[in-house]
């Protein structure tokens, strides 16, 4: 069955099913008919035997028998397959009409009520034996009634022959029908295949319509559509990514070109050239860093960022980073405060980077003279690190998009240093995601807070 087509499989199965059903039906019909004929025979024999008993019960002696014989013959004559034998209780045959039978001895004097059957000269017979009692003589006579049932046997033989012929024909017809049914039943599958075949990168937006698809195929189509959606999403992201790179690199590249060309248009003093080279160096560094960051994000998108799993105390990380950033904070009169503690399993370098990005981000937007608060909380189910800074409230519609690469709340404004390409929060998010954590931002009443949530060190199994 392995290499058969679905249509062939279904036709065959259909055929086998029909054969099985017909066989069961045929056998049952056969059995029922046999039973029915037997009942009919028994009924006939019962009736006739009763009448015979009735007729014979009026005889007192063997001589009286002659008187009732016409009556008996009339009874038997109405049924030409029927024969009767009357025996005296010593076994002598008093009457045998229409034929003398060689009835097996055991049935001759069988007093049991019940039908017996035997075969002779290609004929099938059924018989019944009864004892006739007169008021003064019990078991005076024995009456045997015999019914020729050869016709029934012939009937069954014919029936069986036709049954087999019918079965073969039905099997062939059902296989053919099955093929037709399967083919038309599988038409939606071919349609789905057709749509799937015509898919290309351009048509990833297309979906296979669910309405005309039968129930059984809906799950397949839904899965297929979901796959298309994932492909489309990845494709769109890839396209955006390429577009972003092109766009973001275009600015520094254009600076480099313009600046260099302008400097070269006329002879200048040494300082001018030096100045140009320094400026170029700045732009080049910016581009280099951007490429590094983009590569990091590309790797994380492809699940290639695999953090180490060592136990990291977040308060130590935060304290270290604050030691670094406090120089910058001092300049702006900003306070940096860490409270709480909690440890997670993760990659020290990556977590450093993620939290560092949040801190430098907070420093960029905090009003001078205020305090940036880093709070670490540890519960049984999660370790959270919150970086809170007072600053301009971010509108709700921007909150989710903050983590998108190159996203800026105000597109026209390049906030902070020129090296801030808008990748910091995207990198932070991918690091948090690589650590099975979550990150989100809340902003209200002039307080912006970035929340990072990690599974606690114990859940992943401490080292």
């Amino acid at each position: 069955m392995k290499h058969l087509s679905l249509t062939a499989r279904m036709s065959l199965m259909f055929m086998f099913a029909v054969i099985a059903v017909l066989t069961v039906a045929g056998l049952s019909f056969n059995e029922l008919s046999r039973h029915h004929f037997m009942m009919l025979d028994q009924q006939t024999l019962d009736e006739k035997l009763e009448s015979t008993q009735q007729i014979l019960s009026n005889t007192r002696s063997h001589a009286d028998l002659e008187e009732v014989l016409p009556q008996l013959k009339a009874l038997l004559g109405a049924h030409h397959d029927l024969a009767a034998i009357i025996l005296a209780n010593d076994g002598t045959v008093l009457f045998a009409e229409p034929l003398p039978f060689n009835i097996p001895e055991k049935y001759r004097l069988n007093p049991d009520h019940g039908m017996w059957a035997w075969e002779e000269n290609g004929h099938m017979y059924r018989g019944m034996t009864a004892q006739v009692s007169t008021p003064d003589q019990p078991a005076f006579l024995t009456a045997l009634l015999i019914l020729d049932v050869t016709n029934h046997v012939h009937f069954f033989e014919t029936l069986q022959r036709w049954f087999w012929i019918g079965l073969v024909i039905s099997a062939l017809v059902s296989a053919a029908l099955g093929w037709v049914v399967a083919r038309s039943g599988l038409r939606p599958l071919r349609q789905v295949t057709h749509v799937a075949t015509s898919m290309s990168a351009r048509s990833l937006k297309e979906r296979i319509p669910l309405e005309p698809v039968p129930l059984e195929l809906q799950q397949l189509v839904t899965s297929f559509n979901a796959m298309l959606a994932r492909l489309d999403d990845a494709f769109v992201r890839l396209s955006n990514f390429s577009a972003d790179i092109a766009h973001e690199l275009r600015t520094p590249l254009s600076n480099l070109m313009t600046h260099t060309e302008v400097v070269l248009t006329q002879k200048r003093n040494l300082e001018a050239y030096e100045e140009n080279l320094y400026s170029n160096l700045d732009d080049l560094k910016r581009m280099s860093r951007m490429i590094d960051d983009m590569l990091f994000l590309a790797k994380s998108d492809n699940g290639l960022i695999i953090p180490e799993q060592s136990r990291i105390e977040l308060s130590e990380v935060a304290t270290k980073l604050i030691e670094y950033y406090h120089l910058l904070a001092d300049e702006q009169g900003i306070q940096l405060v860490v409270t709480g503690s909690g440890s997670v399993l993760g990659d020290k370098l990556m977590l450093d980077r993620a939290i560092s990005n949040l801190l430098s981000n907070a420093l960029r937007y905090t009003t001078a003279g205020k305090t940036i608060l880093v709070t670490i909380k540890s519960t049984a189910s999660a370790v959270t690190l919150i970086v809170e800074n007072p600053g301009e409230t971010i509108k709700p519609e921007h909150l989710d998009k903050l983590f998108d690469r190159f996203y800026r709340v105000d597109p026209a404004r390049r906030e902070g240093s020129p090296s801030n390409a808008g990748l910091g929060l995207a990198i932070t998010r991918s690091i948090v995601a690589a650590h099975n954590g979550k990150i989100w931002c809340t902003s209200s009443n002039g307080i912006t807070a970035f929340h990072m949530e990690f599974p606690p060190a114990t859940i992943l199994g401490a080292l």
Binding site: Y278, D282, S288, Y324, S356
Partner: protein, 227 residues
Amino acid sequence: MKLLVAEDEPKTGTYLQQGLTEAGFNVDRVMTGTDALQHALSEAYDLLILDVMMPGLDGWEVLRMIRAAGKDVPVLFLTARDGVEDRVKGLELGADDYLVKPFAFSELLARVRTLLRRGNSSPTQTTMKIADLEVDLLKRRAVRSGKRIDLTAKEFSLLELLLRRRGEVLPKSLIASQVWDMNFDSDTNVIEVAIRRLRAKIDDDFELKLIHTARGMGYMLDAPESE
């Protein structure tokens, strides 16, 4: 100090040779892995700078054969590919350091000097002196012109780093990594602030400036006499 640069990209190779020569090294340059192997086996170099992707033999193959020949000259790899497995492979084969292109030349120079210093480590000094600045590394105290200078722990570490590598331009990334254990590019001007503060304490009150800015590249501690 004699270096070998194996780099198949002509522009990169030329600039590396120029830069390293101007930094005071004696530099040979080859463009294929086969040449690199031949040079490395026949001449005594203090350091090899190998590009991973080269025609003929690649950098890893060259390194493998050099090590097989029993040479333990330090090797610094340059590569355009930044895969963890690449890095691991290089280090497993016995590379001493690894730089991903694009890199800053100042960064390369700093690493080259670190590698060259390794091995012939100078006896641990407890005091260092440059011009009229004296630093006691054990007591963690700095004195300039007989006047005690009050430094924070990080400021002292920064000064110590600059002193230990006097005359070298130290890139900001190296300073951040050595002093603050920040092993990634943090794209802020923290180092500038730190240097400015250190300058305020070390240099501002004195005629002779010790801390110098190499614009766009990093910082250096130096005094005219020590050259």
